[in-house]
Amino acid sequence: MLDNLKILFHQGKQYIPDVTIAKVPGIFRGRPVISTVKVDETELMEICPTNAISTNPVCIDLGKCTFCGECAMAFPNKVKFTTDYKIATNERRKLIIVEGEDEPLQLNAELIRTEIQKCFSGSLKLRQVSAGGDNSCELELNACSNVNFDMGRFGIDFVASPRHADGLVITGPITENMARPLQICYDAIPEPKIIIVAGTDSISGGIFEGSPALDRSFLSKYTIDLYIPGNPIHPLTFINGVLELIKKRR
């Protein structure tokens, strides 16, 4: 008992006091900024492993980007990844960053359903389904609830049963073999319910896009309430995105 107290004392305070303004250590690659400098655009496009870069104008689609940073290394004057981790949004098209733009990403308040704020602003219980996820987004979602990020302080938790949940968090490109279990899980969640897609694989298929082993038809059936890009998502991206979704006023 005393030893445990000693350990507790030695550990001190480990939580991040304010997750909305925390700085990420090191060279995190968050929201990119694309300058209007002219470069060989075909070459730039060709670098990307997931065809996230398009031209006229030059854009990076964060829903497809793996955040490998190779484009920024080859064209440092053209592409720069900032440490801005607040890159979640509720509009798919907003994930496309256009050259010359340097605005923080925000949720479109008009698109947030009224029941989300009414029912979930003080408490949100989520059911996570990994549908072909590579366990990286899953590790980071687990990290959201650890003593550092402590998402539970906002009343946001992951629960064991869809019956206890207010929404679904999907990771992975959605394999054919998981398509039906995913649907069953969604159907088991009581109304009102939200859908969050977390990670590049989940938003667009990522590097697995076009694989015949996928069945992504689930996503076209429902409204997606939140897109969280990343490979994997950063816990701060997830927490801030979800907080904005449940707290934002019209």
């Binding site: 350990i7 549908a131 366990n135 979602l141 992951f158 998981m178 990522g206 590097i207």
Partner: protein
Amino acid sequence: MNYISLKNNQTVPISSIPELDYSLFLELNVFSLIKGTGSHCVNYFGFPHAGKIKLICCIADDELNAINILSSIVDAKQPLPSFSKQNLVFEKFEREIHENFGIVYTDHPWLKPVRFPFNRYKKNVTVADYPFFNIESEELHEVGVGPIHAGIIEPGHFRFICNGEQILHLEIQLGYQHRGIEQLFLEKKKLLQRITLAENIAGDSVVGHTVTFVNLWESLCNYQPGRDLQLARTLALELERLAIHTGDLSAMCTDVAYQLGSAVYGRLRTPVINYFQKWCGNRLGKSLIRAGKTNFPFTNELAAELTGLVGEYEKDFEEISEELFSMPSVLARFEKTGVITNEQAATIGTVGMSARMSAVSRDIRFSHPHDLYPELHHEPVIKNHGDVHSRARLRKKEIDQSIGYIRQMIENLPGNRQEDTGLLVPSPNSFTISLVEGWRGEICHCAVTDDNGELIHYKIKDPSFHNWLAVALAVRNNEISDFPICNKSFDLSYCGHDL
């Protein structure tokens, strides 16, 4: 002998691999494992070849540091006698061959689906049709768990047959995570795409799988990586081991309701993965490992920071570990729970941690060393009891060992980075095998190229492929309430298995 003997990361012409008649192929491969645990099968797979199926079997001789390779060409329609009848370690490899190509084995003991891949032979059988073993009895009941589990983990279905609270039998059905990765390796032609694929095989073994791929690719392109690249890879492998082992100890504390241990180990993992972010911009090491180059050189500043980090880590780690391993309520749950005997481990052919916890010395860092491991003179950590406690202690010891290796490596950093000569093209008509000891166990990638040096087959084997059966055996005669701690103590990969 009739086989060709390769070193780890060696490329040879595909024509140099002896092609044997199937019966001789069977006899030689089964015979080479007779001498016990000094040899083991690291990969056995088939691929289409001129209207037939070419089988390639890779047996690692752990004592001679060699991998012996043989091949055979068979007709998919011709029923064959199985290797598994003679030696169970081939069991899953043959199931995979059967599932992919429809080859029928006349005497295979357990010819069931492996992962329901999109290009399977029997398209009409789906993941919902898995033929579970069952026992007719009024005393027994079945418990089905999954594919979706209670926590944030990957999907898989567990079917228990229980007598009251006690597990008689567990069957594990996987395949839900199948993304068709091996096929994508052939279709995505850009090197960066293939590296990205390797990074996404299993997110908890990013470094392990990516190092395996780049080592293979460089060998295939006849490129010798500089010392700086080798150091970075070895360091990253040990850091990944440190991070994941720590996270696993946290999860094991959670499963025995030791809250403080769970919190402390959980938070100890954070600075280690944040260090990856400082090094390469990604907490799990994605984007760090590249073939023929690095985008993130390991600098003296990074080395200084790492020295500080392991010092801080070690202090807290030793304190909590001392407490954990002397706490009666923890030991009561850890000891004699989920036992795999030495005999079982050897019979089913476990690898990595799952082998070493049952006194089977199997460690690629020792037997087929790559990158800087020859200089580290690695000695595998061995535990004897094969229970949850052994798996926990093994992690603790391996963490201590990794810290030692990290210190040793950053003590003498190589000087200036060698000039980047660039990668050449992959050799045509070649075969390459690459083995890496990830934190979970041995990762094996094999590649076969055609006349133009294009990949015609890419085979990935995660250690979980060998080890899932160990989980099913470990829980027998345990209470079903001990299943979570048994499963977590192995911490096997679903996506690495399903590909």
